[in-house]
Symmetry: C2
Subunit: 198 residues, 2 copies
Amino acid sequence: MSIIQGINSLRSVRNFKRDLVPEEVIRAILKAATRAASGSNSQPWEFVVVRDPTMKARLTEPMLRTWLDRLGGGRRMSGPLKEVYDDATEMLRNTKDVPVIIYCCFDSNRVSKSEEVRYASIFPAVQNLMLAAHAMGLGTCLTVHGSTSTRGEPEVKKILSIPDNIKIACLVYLGYPGVKLGPPRRKPVEELIHYDRW
Amino acid sequence: MSIIQGINSLRSVRNFKRDLVPEEVIRAILKAATRAASGSNSQPWEFVVVRDPTMKARLTEPMLRTWLDRLGGGRRMSGPLKEVYDDATEMLRNTKDVPVIIYCCFDSNRVSKSEEVRYASIFPAVQNLMLAAHAMGLGTCLTVHGSTSTRGEPEVKKILSIPDNIKIACLVYLGYPGVKLGPPRRKPVEELIHYDRW
C-alpha cells in the first residue's frame, strides 16, 4: 500500500473482529509510531498496551460513565453528529471485546511545557501508528475517552498505575476490522487554504 | 513508496533547494492532510500557505527574535541537543529562502474546548501532510516557531491577518530537500511499551 493510498483509505474503525493481534505486530506498529519527529527529538512517548479482559472491563467503567454524563448534558443531536456519537457509545460499551487498547502517553518531564510542543510530540506518532496498522490490515480508532480530566483520565491512570508525570494524550482501539469502509468524506481542500495571508 | 518505508525514512529537513513547489502539488499535499480523522469529524483545520518573499521576511522577525530570546535565557547546551538547536536557528535565519511555509491552524469555534481534542484534530493531519510531501519527493520540517504565545504567535497572526478564533498549531517548512538524510535515530521501542499496566 502506497503512502497516498494509505492516507486516503484510513478510516476510523469502531467494529472489530475478536481475533487477537500478535505481539510482534503490536511492536512493529509501535516502532513505526516512534519514527515520528518530536520537539528537540525528545521522544517523550510511552504506550500502555491493554489486552487483558479484566483490565479492559475495569477501564470501561470510568470512560463510559463520563461519556454518558456528557451526553446526558441535554445536548440534542441529529444527523451525522448523532451517528458519530452513537457509534462512539457503542464502541465504548464494547471496549472489553476490542482486542487491544493502546493508551498513547507522553512524559511531561521529558518534553517542553508548551501544550503545542507536547501534543506536536505525540500525535504525529499516533498517526504513524494508525497508518502502519492500516498497512498491516488492522483497523484503528483514535479516541480521547479516558484521556482528559473530564473523561475519566484520573481513574484510568489509577487503574493502569500510570505515574503522575505521565499524561494520556489519547487512546487507540486496535484490531482486525469487522467492517470495510469507503474513503472518508471531507470538505473540499480549496475552502481551507489561504495563500500568503488569511 | 510504501507506508512503512515512508514512515521509516521521513526525516526533518532543514535545508531546501530554492526550486518552487507547484501549486497543484501543495494542494495535493494539503488534500492528504485533510483525510485525517478529527474530533467528531469536525475538520477544524485551516492552512495559510506562504510563498511571498516579502511576507516570509516579515514573518521571520518575530519568530527569530523570540527564538534567540529563548536561547539567550542562559541555557548551556552541548551534544546532540545543541546540534538540533543550531540547525533550528540556521533554518529560521534562512526562512525567506524556504520555498513554502504552511501555518497549520485550527478554528477554535469548530472544535471541542479540550486541548487533547483540539490537538488530536490537527497534528494527525500535519503528519499526513509531511508523509504525503515525502512521498512526492519533498522535504518538511515541523516547527512551533510562531505558534505559541512566547514564540511570536500574536505578531505572526497579525502579519498574516489571522482572526482571533484561529489558533496556529504549528508550521511546516516545505521544499525540495537540499540534503539526503538517513533513517531517524530513536530509542528502542521495547523501552516504551507497558503491557496491561505501567
